[in-house]
């Protein structure tokens, strides 16, 4: 070894990273007032923001006539769903709270703060509301949620299967309860779909849209990659045709054409709208899923084949789980778009949340209250979209654990 080889210390000590002293003044200086023009920009923006906030608050607290919302709250929520049958909707809500509580306790133990806030919501609403029966229902909902959460804390992973079965069973139960069956005098008389409305209808359209268009979209994406030319050609034709047509025309087609194609069969108007949503959404989902499928490296297919897996086992066990995971954010984006697009069913005469908003505005007592009504509608849409997006982020974090 030559003489000028640098000496190496025995063991290089592991040092903590350099810390930055953190104070409010320093932060302000660094981020907002670092130069004279940044300082100017900060002041101008603050002034603008103050003006805006003041304007909004003045309107919201002093001028806005929110009684248009409170007086029509039931319409906004469930449309003309009969009051006598409202307990069925509440039962669905309470069951949903129970399932959410249970799942939260099983898979989301880390988010305790969120769980408390979410669990407190029905109780807070129960205090605010002036309607006695709603208060009772809200309290039952809250208690159902708390019980679900407590059960899962006590038994945890043992309830995983129960809760998955619960979620799968929830959707048939939901439809039996909302739709009902049998005659006028029976326990669950049928509620005709023309009475369904408001947020209830919006959510039902969304849930059915997602539940059916998702598997259909996956099948279309797989079909598009098929080696059988007929299958892949049909899938491509379907996807490109639907993607080349506006949603409104698909809705109209579903309303007008389905009865023509299926003469003699009367299909409910709401079901026709649901079919339109599914047909439209599936084509977009198929393209999103295809993106995921194409992101899977060749080696995964080869490893699966080399182990002797048949094509469909390879697809179900190896390819799809990875492909779908890769596109969760895009899929949820698509679901959020679907949720908002359901507002277009107004065009075919259904009274979803947006449709109800328009009928409320047509009432002589509440003429000219567009600002209040549309603000409220936007708020409701916003809350649900936020929940979907927050859920997708949690899902992603959970599924990417250990990677």
């Amino acid at each position: 070894m030559s003489a000028n080889t640098p000496t190496v210390s025995k063991t290089a000590e592991a040092l903590p990273p350099p810390t930055e002293r953190y104070s409010v003044v320093r932060w302000l200086h660094k981020n907002l007032f670092s130069t004279w023009y940044n300082a100017l920009l900060t002041i101008v923006m603050l002034a603008l923001a103050a003006l805006l906030v003041r304007g909004v608050l003045e309107w919201a607290l002093a001028q806005a006539r929110w009684e248009v919302i409170t007086a029509n709250l039931r319409l906004f929520m469930v449309g003309q769903y009969p009051v006598m049958a409202l307990w069925r909707i509440w039962a669905c809500v309470a069951l949903l709270a129970f399932l959410i509580g249970m799942s939260w306790g099983i898979w989301g133990r880390m988010q305790r703060g969120g769980a408390i806030a979410f669990g407190a919501l029905p109780f807070i609403l129960a205090i605010i509301t002036s309607d006695e029966s709603s208060r009772l229902a809200l309290i039952i909902t809250g208690v159902a949620g708390v019980i679900g959460y407590a059960l899962s804390w006590r038994w945890g992973a043992a309830l995983q299967r129960v809760s998955i079965i619960g979620w799968i069973l929830y959707f048939p139960i939901l439809f039996v309860l909302v739709n009902g069956f049998g005659a006028e005098e029976s326990v669950l008389p049928t509620v005709p779909t023309n009475l369904w409305g408001g947020l209830l209808l919006t959510l039902l359209l969304t849930v059915v849209g997602i539940a059916f268009s998702f598997p259909l979209g996956v099948l279309l994406a797989l079909g598009r990659q098929s080696k059988l030319p007929v299958v892949s050609w049909l899938c491509v034709a379907y996807i490109e045709l639907i993607r080349g047509v506006p949603f409104i025309s698909v809705l109209f087609m579903a309303q007008l054409m389905l009865p023509l194609f299926l003469p003699g069969v009367t299909i409910d108007r709401v079901v026709r709208a649901m079919a339109g949503v599914v047909i439209f959404s599936a084509a977009y989902l198929a393209e999103n899923v295809r993106g995921g499928l194409q992101s899977i490296p060749r080696g995964q297919y080869e490893a699966a084949r080399a182990l002797g897996l048949s094509s469909w086992k390879m697809t179900l066990l190896i390819i799809l789980p990875q492909a779908l995971r890769a596109v969760i954010p895009i899929l949820v984006g698509q679901f959020i778009a679907l949720f908002k697009d359901t507002s277009l069913v107004v065009i075919v005469g259904l009274l979803d949340l947006m449709g109800i908003a328009r009928t409320v505005l047509a009432q002589p007592d509440f003429l000219g209250l567009q600002a209040e009504v549309y603000t409220f509608v936007a708020f409701v849409y916003g809350v649900f979209c936020y929940l979907m997006s927050a859920f997708s982020q949690r899902l992603e974090a959970t599924l990417h654990a250990g990677r």
Partner: protein, 253 residues
């Protein structure tokens, strides 16, 4: 030399005049090879010589267009059932490991035994744990592949292939993607496997491994077998100039 090699009368793999084209490129130009039960074969040669393509035709990851390949008495044809039967008897280890990143180590290993062989989960996990002990990483069973080093991942890949209890193991450059300090841990597992009597075809540039365990070595160049023989013949007295040149390049550093 391997004492487990059985008589030449009963080749477990038989390749006769195997040809393969990629478009107009003639990748395999008449490969003839016989592998006996328990034989350890090392295939080596310059990149692009067709050695990876060849090993992948044996379990039909690549399709040969002319000639005959018979594995354990089953001829590879377009018949899907034959292909799946051969794949069940043939384990494969890849250069890039190709573990399933969404599954834990143990689930990677038990997947095929459960879904292809139809074992119960408990049965498959028991075998999987034995295999993980054999490759020296039982403590990693519940981790995901992304949490392991390259050498550990490749050892999991070997365990995954062995879990199907194959009669033949194919290794396609198993150490080429590894950092130098991890090559040994993988080679150790392969040496142990060779000594246990497994029939193996190994595409590799690890000449130390070849010298230690190979029964027969094949030198590939331009889609052909240039020369074959025992390691002693190959290292001691290669006949062909191309073999000499290649070996001198590989062994010089």
């Amino acid at each position: 030399m391997n004492a487990n090699v059985q008589s030449t009368a009963d080749p477990i793999i038989l390749c006769r005049d195997v040809h393969k084209w990629y478009g107009h490129f003639h990748a395999l130009r008449g490969i003839n090879m016989e592998v006996r039960r328990g034989e350890v074969v090392v295939v080596f040669g310059p990149s692009g010589s067709g050695k990876s393509t060849f090993i992948r035709t044996i379990n039909r990851l690549e399709e040969h267009q002319r000639g005959q390949i018979i594995v354990d008495g089953i001829e590879l044809t377009h018949d899907v059932r034959n292909i799946e039967r051969i794949r069940m008897e043939t384990g494969m280890v890849f250069q890039q490991f190709n573990l399933f990143p969404h599954l834990t180590v143990i689930d990677n290993i038990t997947l095929a035994p459960i879904w292809v062989r139809g074992w119960t989960k408990a049965q498959a996990e028991e075998i999987a744990m034995q295999l993980l002990k054999r490759v020296g990483i039982p403590e990693q069973a519940r981790k995901y592949p992304g949490q392991l080093s390259g050498g550990q991942q490749q050892r999991v890949a070997i365990a995954r292939a062995l879990a199907m209890q194959p009669k033949i193991m194919l290794f396609d450059e198993p150490t080429s993607a590894l950092d130098p300090e991890m090559i040994k841990e993988v080679l150790d597992v392969m040496v142990e496997l060779a000594e246990s009597g497994m029939t193996m075809i190994v595409v590799t540039h690890e000449m130390g491994f070849a010298r230690a365990v190979a029964d027969t070595m094949y030198f590939f160049d331009q889609g052909q077998i240039v020369e074959s023989g025992t390691p002693d013949q190959m290292f001691g007295d290669p006949r062909e100039a191309r073999t000499k040149l290649f070996l001198s390049q590989v062994l010089s550093h």
